[in-house]
């Protein structure tokens, strides 16, 4: 049975030494200076096919993604000097019985990713998402990471599998798509102990 979720954390990314570098990419928290380029990517219709929001204009983008909550849960991916996508990392509180709420508070994250179509097919999403798991488990000390997707978003499901997330649930016609109507969703998760046990 549902209980109210505590307010978002003010500075969830603070424990991380930014920027974080992978083999080919640089990952860092978003700033308003990035909005022009990030809107350019989100304005491509195929990018938002499976995403929550399709901004109608730059102004609309800023209104949706310039909020304090979004600014503290969005990272950008750079390849060389170019931003090629963004990442969502939202720290949240999973279900707990009331008496042990303190121990559950802020112990989980939901993650998501998008890549400019000009850069897909080269493993950048997988590289960035895998690094996000490392950030969640090693830098932020979280115990569980979840990700959701439309069931027909094959590219996203492939990334989930590659980074070691398990499909835990499939909701039947529970998610409303702007063009396709009520369609299935999948929920994936990985625990810190599973992530640590996985060879990398």
């Amino acid at each position: 049975m549902s209980e109210t979720t505590p307010a978002p954390r003010p500075r969830p990314f603070e424990p991380v030494a930014w920027p974080v570098r992978t083999k080919r990419l640089l990952i860092r928290p978003v700033t308003p200076d990035d909005f022009g380029r990030l809107y350019e990517i989100r304005a491509i219709p195929e990018v938002t096919q499976w995403l929550t929001g399709r901004p109608a204009s730059y102004q609309d983008y800023v209104e949706r993604y310039g909020t304090p909550e979004r600014l503290t849960s969005t990272l950008v991916i750079e390849l060389g000097a170019t931003i090629i996508g963004d990442l969502f990392l939202g720290v949240e509180t999973p279900y707990s019985q009331v008496e042990v709420r303190d121990r559950a508070d802020g112990s989980q994250a939901a993650i998501g990713w998008l890549i400019d179509p000009a850069y897909v097919g080269q493993g950048y999403a997988t590289e960035a998402a895998a690094e996000m798991l490392r950030i969640c488990f090693e830098d932020l000390g979280l115990r569980r990471v979840v990700a959701g997707a439309f069931a027909d978003n094959a590219a996203s499901l492939r990334v989930m599998a590659k980074i070691g997330m398990r499909i835990e649930g499939r909701t039947v016609r529970g998610s409303l798509h702007r063009d396709l109507g009520w369609v299935d969703g999948v929920e994936a998760a990985v625990l810190a102990e599973e992530w640590r046990a996985k060879p990398r």
Binding site: M1, S2, E3, T4, L51, T52, G53, R54, R64, P94, Y95, S96, Q97, V98, E99, V100, R103, A104, Q108, R143, R144, G148, R166, E168, G169, R170, T171, V172, R173, G174, S175, L176, H177, R178, W182, G185, E187, A189, L191
Partner: protein, 187 residues
């Protein structure tokens, strides 16, 4: 409020179902404060006054129905109408499109089919009177009696989540989510 649109009480063969009133709360507390009952419930209330405060503050009292048999409250039901997950552009179409349901039955009345009987009626109320298109119910995976009721209601297990729920005594354990669409409901 959600329940205002419905004419109460609703009756099944053995049970009367109606929104909880202040006068019902001591009887509901008497059930909820039993450790065996609270094992799988969101809280184990120990003080009636604190429990009342929590009920009011969380809005839970507005989502509570009671089950009555022969004039006695034997437990409570829970209905929380909520928005479905939608893409932002079609958010309005997902408003109040689904409901989460739950129940809590006095141990004296368990094993007699009361939970199933009441929940069959609650499913009908949700689909026919509240007009939702989808129902969900959540439980700890080890709460076998609750899972049996979900099965009997024709709900489908959509998710089994590993160590996603924190229990006050058992630590991090698995949770399950069941769902039922109106179009799959056989009434």
């Amino acid at each position: 409020m959600t329940f205002d649109r419905i004419s109460w009480p609703r009756r099944t063969d053995r049970i009367t179902i109606r929104p909880a009133t202040t006068a019902d709360l001591p009887a509901v507390f008497a059930v909820r404060s039993l450790p065996d009952v609270a094992e799988w419930m969101p809280d184990l209330p120990t003080s009636y006054d604190e429990w009342l405060l929590h009920l009011g503050r969380s809005g839970a009292v507005d989502r509570m129905l009671v089950m009555e048999v022969d004039g006695s409250v034997i437990g409570d039901l829970y209905v929380h109408v909520e928005d479905a997950w939608t893409q932002a552009e079609v958010k309005a179409a997902g408003k109040d499109a689904q409901a989460e349901i739950g129940w809590c039955l006095s141990p004296d009345h368990q094993g007699k089919g009361y939970a199933t009987e009441a929940m069959v009626e609650l499913v009908r109320i949700c689909f026919e009177d509240l007009g939702v298109r989808r129902l969900t119910a959540n439980a700890f995976a080890d709460n076998a009696p609750s899972l049996r009721v979900m099965d009997r209601l024709g709900m489908t297990r959509e998710a089994h989540s590993r160590a996603d729920s924190l229990h006050r005594d058992h630590g991090w354990i698995d949770g399950v989510t069941y769902a039922l669409l109106r179009e799959d409901w056989t009434g």
